[in-house]
Amino acid sequence: MERKLIVTSSPHIRSKEATDKTMRDVVIALIPATLAGMYYFGFQTLIVVLLSVAAAMATEAVIQNIRKQAITVMDYSAAVTGLLLALNLPPEVPFWMPVVGSVFAIAIAKQAFGGLGHNFINPALAARVFLIASWPVEMTTWKFPVDAVTEATPLALIKGSRIVPESVSIFNLFIGRVGGCIGEVSALALLIGGIYLVYRGVISPRIPLAYMGTVAVLTLLYGGFDFNYMMFHLLAGGLVLGAIFMATDYVSSPMTAKGQIIYAVGCGLITVVIRLFGGYPGGVSFSILFMNVVTPLIDKYVKSNVFGGVKK
C-alpha cells in the first residue's frame, strides 16, 4: 500500500484548549473593568489603554524579530500585559508613560528572560513598580469621578487609622465611584470578569479566594472585628484586580493546588503588612511581585503525593 499515513505516539486527539484562546478570555474578562474606568474617569483612559496595548504588542514583535523567532503577537499574551498595565495606571497619566511601561514589561520582564512562559515575575506589575519608582509624582496624581465626595484615594484616607472614613461608602467602593487606578476601582466590574474566567476554566478560584480571604481575616482581626473595616480593605485599592487578574498569572504562580494556597496566603499577608504598617498606601503590587519570586521555591518543595505513594 502506498499511502502516506501519519505516525505519532499516542494520544492522537487534542483538546480545543489553546494559549491564544485562554489569553483572549482574559482580555474579554477585563472589558467590564476597562469600561468602568472609562465611565468614571473619561475618554482619555481609552487612549492610555490603547497606547499601552499597542506598545506591548509592537515591542514583542520587534524583539521576536531581533531574536529571529516566530512572531506571536497575535496570541493575545502581549495584549493582556499591555491591558493589565494600563488598568494599573492613574487615569490622567501622561501618554508617554504607558508606552515606556509596556516596553519595559515586554522587553525587560518578559523577553529578556526568554519570552512567553519564562517571565519569573508578572510583567505588567514589574512595569508598574518600575514606573512608580522612576516617576513617583506622575504615578500618584489622581483624578476622581465627578460625583466622588473626596479628593484622596480610599487607601490614602484610611492609612494609619482603624476607622472607616465617613466620606467613602462601601457601596461606592464596590461600584467604583472612588479615586484610584483606571481598572482597579470597580470591584463589581472585576468580579464579573473573575466569574467569567472561572466559568471558562481559565483560572481556578483558589488563588483569588485564598488571597482575599487572608486579607479579610487579618483586617477583621486588626480592626477589632469591625466588618465595615474589613470590607473597606477588601474593596479598596488594587486588591480585587490583583487577586483575580495578577496573582493568577500562570507563569509566575505555583503549579500545585497546595502551592497556590501558600502563595496566595503569602500575597495576602504581605499586602496587609504593607497597608497597615508600610510606607505605601497600597501593597498589592509589591506583595504579588515578592511571591512571584518565591514561586520557584514553593514549586520545588510543595509536591503532591503520587498515586499509590507513601503518604506524607
Binding site: 484548549e17 500562570y250 503549579m255 505513594g309
Partner: protein, 440 residues
Amino acid sequence: MNLLSFRGGIHPPHSKEMTEHLPVEKALEPEIVVIPLQQHIGAPCKAIVEVGEKVKVGQKIGEAGGFVSAPVHSSISGTVKKIEKRMIINGTGTCIVIESDGLNEVHESVVPKGDIETLEAKEILDIINEAGIVGMGGAGFPTRVKLSPPPDKKIDVLILNGAECEPYLTSDHRLMLENPEDVVYGLRTVMKVLGLEKAFIAIENNKMDAVLSMKEAAKEFPGIQVVIVKTKYPQGSEKQLIYACSKREVPSGALPMDAGAVVSNVATMSAISKAIKTGMPLIERICTVTGDGISEPKNIMIKNGTRISEIIAQAGGYKGEPGKLILGGPMMGFAQFTDDLPSNKTTSGVLVFTEEQARLPEPNPCIRCGKCVDICPSFIQPFAISAYSLNGMFDMAEKNSAMDCIECGSCSFICPSKRPLLHSIRMAKREILSKRRKTK
C-alpha cells in the same frame, strides 16, 4: 446518585455515536490469515505446525514460549503456507500464514470442557491457559498468569472492566448488550478460580443500557455487583478503576495484586465462557472499525489474523484519503504506517482519521497553566518531567516520579500549548529503564 470515580482525568468527546447502536456483524471469512506468534506482553510462542500442514479451526499452532505467554490457535481451516517474519503491530515478528480451504472444519480438540459447577479451580485455569486467553482490553497480559497470584498475595477484590473509556470504541459496549450471559458466566468461573464470593462489574454512566443488560444477566448471582462509574477518561485504567471501586491505591511501582485486586476486561470473560462451554479457544473478537476516515463504521466479529486492510474493506473501505490508522482507541492506541498488518487478540478497534484530523498542532512554549498537574490521574507533574526529559535530565525525571506515569495521555490532550508531554515522558521512562537494566 453518587458515581464512583478517581481524582483527575479528562472529558474527551466520546465519538461513540457512529457505532454504539450497531449490532455486531460477523466478518466475511478471510481467505488468508496471518497469525503472529507474539500477541501479548511476554515471550513469543513457538510454532508447532510446519509449512504445508493442514490445520483446523481451534487447532493449537503455537505453544506458549514461557511462563508469561499464551498459546495461539488457528482461526480457520486450511493449509499453512508460510512461517515467516512479517510486519506486526509495533514491529516485526514471526507469523504463521494460513490459506483457507473454505470449509471451516473444527478441530477435534474443540469439545465442551464441562460445567462451572463441576470443574475444579485448577481445571478452569488449565482451560484458560490452553485456550490462549489474554487480557483483551489492551495489553494482552496472559489471563492465567493474572489469575495465579503468588500465595502471599491475598486477592479480595475482583473488578470486571466494562468502562470502555477510550473514545470511539464500542466493542465492549456491544458485547455487554448482546452477550451479557457469557460475560457473567466467565466472571463466575474467575470468581471460582480466585475463591471469591464477590465481584464488581464497572460500567461508565454513558452506557446505561449496558448497565441494565448486565444487571439483568447477573440478577441471580447476589455476589456480582454492577457498579456505575463516572464517564471520565481514564476510568478504565486498572489502577484508577480499583480506586473507584474499592478506594484502594495500588502502591507506586507495584501491581494490582499488591493491593489485593484483579481487574479483567469483559471481553476476556466472554472468551473464557466460550472456552469452557464449547471448547473453542480465543480465535475471534469484536472490533470497532470507526472514525471519519471509514465509509461505514461498524462493530465486526473478526477472526484472529485477519488483515487490517480486509477489516477496513468490510467497513466500506476508506472514506477519502486516510491520514492516520490507529489500532485501539485515540488516547492509547498505536498509529500504524501501513494497513498490511494482521489483527490479533487485542485488536479492539481500527480507527481511521482524515488527513485533517491526523495532523497534530505545533507545540508552543509551556505557559505553566498547571492543567496537566490538575488532571494527572497519577498525581505527578507532567510539565516538569517533560522539561527534564527534553533537556536530557533523566535522573531528575526519575526523581519526579516519571515511572509512575500510566501513559494515559491526558496531559498531552489537555495542554493548551499542545506540548508533546506524554511523548517526552515516555522517552524519559525508556532511558530510566535502560539505565536500571545496566546497573543491575
